[in-house]
Structures are given as C-alpha cells and as structure tokens.
Symmetry: C2
C-alpha cells in the first residue's frame, strides 16, 4: 500500500501541474487571432464540452492530417523525391547503365524537368529502384541516415526542420483535448514512420500512407519482410478515405490538407453528422515559404479550393494567419 500511496501522491502532483499549465497556456500561440484560429478553437470547444449537443466521446475524436504541404513544406519538390534523387546518386556506382538510361540519367544530372517528361511511368521506375529489395529494417535505417545529412536547398536546414510550427501547436492542442491524430499522406509509410514520432508525435501505427507490397522470407531461419517493386496502396485522392476506412475504421471528425489530393478526405470527413472541421492550408507566403495553388506541379490546390469556398471550409492563409512558419524562426 506504501507504493500505491506514493503513486497517488505523484499523480496528484502531476494533475496539479497539468491544471496550472492548462490554465496558463493559450492554445495556438503562433496563430494570429483571425477567423481561422477562431474556427479551430470553436470546433474543439464544441466537441469536448460535455453536455454540448456536438459533444464527441474521446475515442471518436479522430483527426487526420495530410503531410506534404500540410505539416511540412513540399517545394521545390516533395521531400520524398529529394530522397529518391539522393538515393539514385548513392546507388549509381552499382548501376553504370544509369548514366545513359532515362529517367536515371536525368535524375543524376538533377534535371527534374527531364525527369517529369517521363511522366508517371518514369516516376514509378525511380520509386521502385530506390525503395524495393530492402528489408523493412534496412530501409528504415536508410531513411534515418539520409535525414541526418540531407539539407533543404533553400534553407540549408534538415528536412525535418521544415515543419510548420503552427501545425505542431495545432497537433498539441488537439491531443491535449483528447483527439487521436493520424497522418494520412500520399507519401509512403516506409519513408514516414522512421521519423514521424520524433518530429510530430505520430507513432508508427498512426501513420497511414502509400505503401509497397512486402514478402515474408526466412533468412537463415530469421524472418524478414522484403519490400517488393510493387505498390500495395496509393493513398491519394479517393485513396485517402479508402485508406482511412481500411486502417482506422472510423470516420474522422476533423481533417487537414492543402491540395486537391485531400479533397475526398475532406468530403468524407464532413459527410458525417455533428460538428466537423475541414481545413486547408493555402500557401500564400512567397517570402517566408512559397506561394502556389491552382497551377503548381506539387500540391496543386484548385478543385478543393473551390469546394472549400462553396462549403465554408476553413482556409488558412499562411501569410496572414501564421506569425511564424518554421520553429527555427523563433530563434
């Protein structure tokens, strides 16, 4: 019973600290006091206040987040594509034929325009050449090693520092209010899971994304899973609600995206009953980040922007709504 008492006392202290912290900390400090911030706070208060007609029990407070362009930047190209480029370069000595063979030649020369000429087919070839053949453990290590040395061309920062401080605050705010938060990204789970917990606080089981088929093998009696050169699932557009249903099995009450690839996820989320939050991050800040929407090759926001306006979804204007973009701006 002594131990139990000590646990109780410790828990009591922790609760008191928590109570103080909760009353002291204003949520979303990097958000300006605009209608967008208000929409978020109003929604969270509605679904968490017991007795409110829109109250949602904690277990059903599912919130899903796109990654590229919603939680971290996606320019001048998706970061997983920069990873692929660097992997093609690292693997090139073992593939002398790549010097003459497209799309590898273009990738080695850093000529992304020439890569894009090859279209979907070239992209798939590059993805498979850089992701397949590894065991799941080998590949996770490759991703971790890459993140240590790779730097973003514009900021010179590690890619994992190119995450949006206001969105980190939003994640913290939702989690404090009992939400279970998920990534639902077009990027692959193999590329995301090695770092999403440390950077954003998403454990591996809360990361939904595109994925590769794997093969179970016994190597000297030890089982391994080997990544195959075949997509298992493409988690984009219609794939997002499909992936949500497949992996989570519940409809989110809040969804966050930034491009047409997120449209169906937002439609699916808002089609449920009760209070719903659908939010788009609009890239409007050419100075601190990038400004792009309807014609961008990465993160095109066109149809979803129209639908957001028609349906009254929350559209965040990065330039006006966010005091800072990246955490490192604090320093």
């Amino acid at each position: 019973m002594k131990i139990m008492k000590s646990i109780v006392v410790k828990s009591l202290l922790a609760l008191l600290l928590l109570a103080n912290a909760a009353s002291a900390a204003e949520p979303l400090p990097s958000w300006n006091d605009t209608v967008q911030k208000k929409a978020i706070v109003t929604f969270v208060e509605q679904v968490t206040r017991e007795g409110s007609p829109n109250f949602v029990p904690p277990a059903e407070r599912i919130a899903t987040f796109d990654n590229d362009g919603t939680l971290w930047s996606e320019q001048p190209m998706y970061f997983q594509m920069a990873f692929m480029r660097d992997r093609v370069r690292a693997l090139a000595p073992q593939h002398p034929e790549w010097k003459k063979k497209q799309p590898f030649k273009a990738m080695l020369e850093g000529d992304m325009k020439a890569v894009s000429v090859g279209g979907q087919h070239a992209l798939v070839e590059l993805i498979m050449a850089t992701h397949a053949g590894y065991t799941t453990e080998e590949f996770a290590q490759i991703v971790k090693d890459w993140l240590v040395t790779a730097r973003h061309p514009k900021t010179g920062r590690p890619y994992t520092e190119m995450v949006y401080q206001p969105m980190l605050e939003l994640l913290a705010y939702l989690r404090t209010n009992g939400f279970k938060t998920y990534i639902v990204s077009g990027g692959s789970v193999e590329f995301m899971r090695p770092w999403t917990e440390k950077v954003y606080g998403f454990p591996p089981e809360q990361v939904v994304g595109s994925s590769f088929k794997t093969k179970f093998e016994l190597r000297n009696g030890k089982p391994v899973l080997v990544q195959l050169p075949e997509f298992n699932f493409i988690d984009d557009n219609e794939g997002k609600p499909i992936g949500i249903n497949q992996y989570i099995g519940r409809r989110p009450i809040a969804a966050f995206g930034n491009s047409d690839g997120d449209l169906q996820m937002l439609q699916w989320t808002t089609a449920g009953s009760g209070a719903r939050l659908a939010l788009l991050v609009h890239h409007t800040d050419a100075e601190r980040e990038w400004a792009y929407d309807r014609t961008s090759s990465f993160g095109r926001l066109d149809k979803a922007l129209d639908e957001a306006q028609a349906k009254g979804w929350t559209v965040v204007d990065m330039k006006d709504d966010w005091k800072i973009i990246y955490t490192f701006e604090k320093n």
Copy 2:
C-alpha cells in the same frame, strides 16, 4: 480554478479506487495455476518492471491476437462462414438461379461438405456474393443485425457469447499492464469491427484482418465507400506479419494464436530482441469445447505445434489450463 480542483479531487478518488482494485484482484482467475499461466505472468512482469533488463516502454508493448479459435470458437465452422450461409439464405429470394447453381445450392441446403467440394473458388464466390456491393455502413449494420438473432448450433447462444473467458481476462491483464492489444485475424475487418469493441474491447483501429477493396463514390453529393467483389488483403499465414507491418508498423512483443495460420506471426514476434511471448491455444477439450488439431479443416494446428514444441513456445491446453471456457459457465 474551482473546476480544476473538482477534477483533481475526482481523479484522486478514482486513483484510490484503482489502487484498491489493483491490490485486491488476482490476474487470470479462470486460469489454473499451471506452467502456462506462470509463463504469461513472468513475461508481463519482466517487460513491465522498470530497471529489468527486459523492460519495454509502454508504447512498444504491442500484443497481437488471432480471433477464430483464439478468442472465440471456430467449430463446427468459422463463424463468418455461418454468417455467409445465413446471408445466402436471406438473399436467395432475389436470386432464384441459386437453387440450381453451385456453390449456392449446397449452401442453401446447408450441405457444407458439398460446398467444400468447390474448394477455394466456390468459397470466394460465396464471400463475394454476400459481402460485395454494400456500402461500408450498410454492411456493418447487416453484421450487427445478424449477431442479434443468429445462434450457435451447439450452445444455442449468440456467437458473441462463444468467446473465451480466460482470454478476456488475459486481454484485461495485458491492457492493465500498458499493452496495446490488436486483433490480427484471417477473418475480415468488415465482419469484425462492428462488434469487437463491445465484446473484446478492441476499437476499430486495433482490428487487422482480411479486407475487401472499396470504391469511393458520390451518391447525390454524399460520399460513400462501396465494398467491391475483390480481396484487398488476405491476413493469414505470411499475411499476418505483412499485415502487422502494414497496419501497426511495429513488431509485437507478444502474439497469440491457435493454428498454422498463426505460425508466421509467432515467428515474426519471437524474432525480435528481448523477452517475447508466443502462445498457442490448443483445443483439447471435447466436452466443454472441441478437441482438434493436426487434421481439422478449421483451425488446423500441425506445423505450428511442432515448432512450438521445438522452440519452447507456450502451448495452452484448454482442458487442463482453463477453469471455464465461456463466460456463461460462471452462472
């Protein structure tokens, strides 16, 4: 601050109640004091005791459970198959051709031997005819409705009462000790998720299983997901570690099964470093449940039994190790 104090006081009371309950309750009351129960308790104590060389942080305490034959019975046939039989009967008036067409004719006549003659192909035909074409919401309702009226042929009980009381206690014991528990079943998620939370305490996002492909559609502007007549994933044998990697993204430290379909999951689980628990439920009780293993058509346990013996995995003898099988035996 008044509200905060009230929360603190309530939490303190809850903690005291919890402390009393924890010191009073002996874990696994329906388990006899055999070497199998001891193996479970020893494992849990090892991985939860801080400072122990085998300590595992709570976030990594993943435990995966097969369903059919591990958490509930699977005789005289998998319960999802009984569901299919009843669905074929319910749908027969809309399909007069089934009276003359196999495997439907055999299913309508309840002639399971004749159904099995059709092999894998016939089975797939039956699965698709009874599971495809519905929206995910329609299908969940069909499963719920079926469970209300369907009765097991031997006990006359609802199928959801054919769950093993000792396994419910094991689930509770693991959860109390910070484990995150998952179903990893050959049965389909569409069939399991509507009831696993209520019956076992697995929320939808902790149910991994076989699944159907779905299609995203807008019906009068409202998005729906329609189940297609095509498998998305078969979660059996090699599929179990593949599914675990795909859905959870972490290797379990404990896995529970009862048949050869669970062998690879147990291999995958035990191949990790540190303390591991691999457990097989051996159906040895012809009187209170069923006795079967190496030659059964449902839940065959042959190779996995050999490997369990060779590797010293825990094999539960239902007859000797369990005081009762089903919860209703308590009454």
